[in-house]
Amino acid sequence: MKNKKKAERITFRSEKEMPVVPMSIGSMCHNKTGAWRNMKPVINLAECIQCGICWKFCPDACILVEDEWPVIDYDYCKGCGICAEECPTKCIANVEEKR
């Protein structure tokens, strides 16, 4: 996932730079949907039992697993709250996003 974050916005200066047919040539990873959030989930790793449920249910696939622990990628997290809701030990808190 990390190398995909290098994905950039694509701009065409001329039709000559465009493919002949409407098609994808880049990744949506350039679109940092973290900006959508009102609430931010924060995992308390001390209570986390590594059950995999938060990672499993994230609709944005933005809970990464690093060294066996869940890490939320806040560049993309939309703050839907599903991870907090489904966590069996309730170790994910919904914190109001401060901007």
């Binding site: 065409f12 039709e15 465009m18 493919p19 002949v20 047919v21 409407p22 098609m23 994808s24 040539i25």
Partner: protein, 384 residues
């Protein structure tokens, strides 16, 4: 190899000799023989292709588009109501830059139910971005299918090969079936520029904002503008290998014609016969049979029709609220030409009513008798 076959079968043989790989088609009178023979050819392995027995024409075109996007050479055929049912997807094939080749049997649109020939079905689709080839003999049908694949695959624009209902689709004529090895040389396997493959995943046809859509459509038009020259060039190549040239138009006695008929489809061959008769009677008349309607062959029309004093365009179609469609387009092509001819418009043969040599005689006499057209539609043979 010479064979006596019907026009519909000329489409089937064309698709077979071109090594079509996927055929998705739904039967409709008078196209049924096209798909029946293709079905047999697939079953006997004379043609190595998948035949999808879709449940409607809309699905036929959808499946054809899917197959073409997967990288397969794709052929289908339909007529009138079926073509109309495909309408949404005709835009999809052209906008998707897919070289589908389709046979269309010109059949009048219902209501009332008609199975006989007129051109409103195919001409209603003239804005969809498909090339359109109007044929008048079974040999022409076969040769056109092969050449259509070549041009379509080079330009990534789909093609429609059009036949009149019954007078061409069901008429038996001697056809020279080209040698398969030579056709393979002329038309190598389809090499797609893009396709659905997990090894290089792309999303095709997604949401396209005003920021980009215009340029994609600009590209389609620009490639369509290359088509007249490419049709001639591939036609000359075909002539070298197979001895027959098709090209954009079929002019008969046009060089010194004072009155020029402009026709298409089988009526075009009837007009050739009528022209020879009238020449015998001393009239300086000629016939420009239009073979390619899209891309519109502006240069040929201006060069040939521009020389005549009067043009008599005979349409087997009408755009309601306007005039015959070839009439409109010929007239617009000649606009601005110095000493442009007077253009007369005639509508004949809607719903399959026969157009006879004597109809052409009457048309020419009418054009001779009038300096300029009084009405832009002269109805031939309507009981009033």
């Amino acid at each position: 190899m010479k064979k006596v076959i019907m026009g519909n079968h000329a489409l089937s043989y064309g698709a077979m000799i071109s090594r079509s790989q996927v055929i998705a088609a739904y039967p409709i009178t008078p196209q049924t023989q096209v798909v029946e023979l293709l079905s047999e050819m697939c079953a006997s392995k004379a043609l190595d292709a998948k035949f999808i027995k879709v449940e409607s024409e809309h699905s036929a075109m959808a499946a054809s588009i899917g197959a073409a996007l997967a990288g397969a050479r794709t052929f289908t055929a339909t007529s009138s109501q079926g073509l109309a049912l495909m309408h949404e997807l005709l835009h999809w094939a052209s906008g998707g830059r897919l070289p589908v080749v389709m046979g269309n049997i010109n059949r009048a649109m219902a209501p009332g139910w008609s199975i006989w020939s007129d051109q409103n079905d195919s001409l209603s689709e003239r804005d969809t971005g498909w090339m359109q080839f109007y044929c008048a003999s079974n040999q022409e049908v076969l040769d056109t299918v092969i050449q259509a694949f070549k041009v379509s695959e080079a330009l990534l624009i789909p093609s429609m090969v059009v036949l009149d209902a019954f007078s061409l689709s069901h008429t038996y004529e001697v056809v020279d079936l080209p040698d398969q090895a030579k056709v393979d040389e002329y038309l190598p396997p389809f090499k797609p520029r893009f396709r659905l493959t997990p090894s290089e995943p792309h999303a095709f046809g997604g949401l396209t904002s005003p920021e980009h859509y215009f340029e994609f459509r600009y590209k389609l038009q620009k490639d369509m503008e290359k088509a007249p020259a490419m049709i001639e060039e591939t036609g000359r190549e075909y002539e070298k290998m197979f001895g027959r040239f098709l090209g954009l138009v079929d002019p008969r006695r046009c060089d010194d014609a004072e009155i020029l008929l402009v026709t298409s489809g089988t009526a075009g061959y009837t007009a050739h016969v009528a022209v020879e008769e009238m020449r015998q009677a001393g009239l300086k008349v000629g016939n420009l049979r239009m073979k390619v309607f899209r891309p519109f062959p502006f240069d040929k029309v201006r060069e040939i029709a521009g020389r005549a004093k009067k043009i008599a365009v005979v349409d087997r179609n009408i755009s309601y609220g306007h005039h015959g469609i070839f009439f409109q387009e010929i007239k617009s092509a000649l606009y601005g030409l110095k000493d442009a001819p007077a253009v007369f418009g005639y509508i004949a043969g809607l719903g399959g009513r026969d157009i006879t040599p004597s109809d052409f005689g009457g048309i020419v006499r009418h054009a001779l008798a009038n300096d300029r057209p009084e009405d832009n539609i002269v109805w031939i043979g309507v009981k009033r």
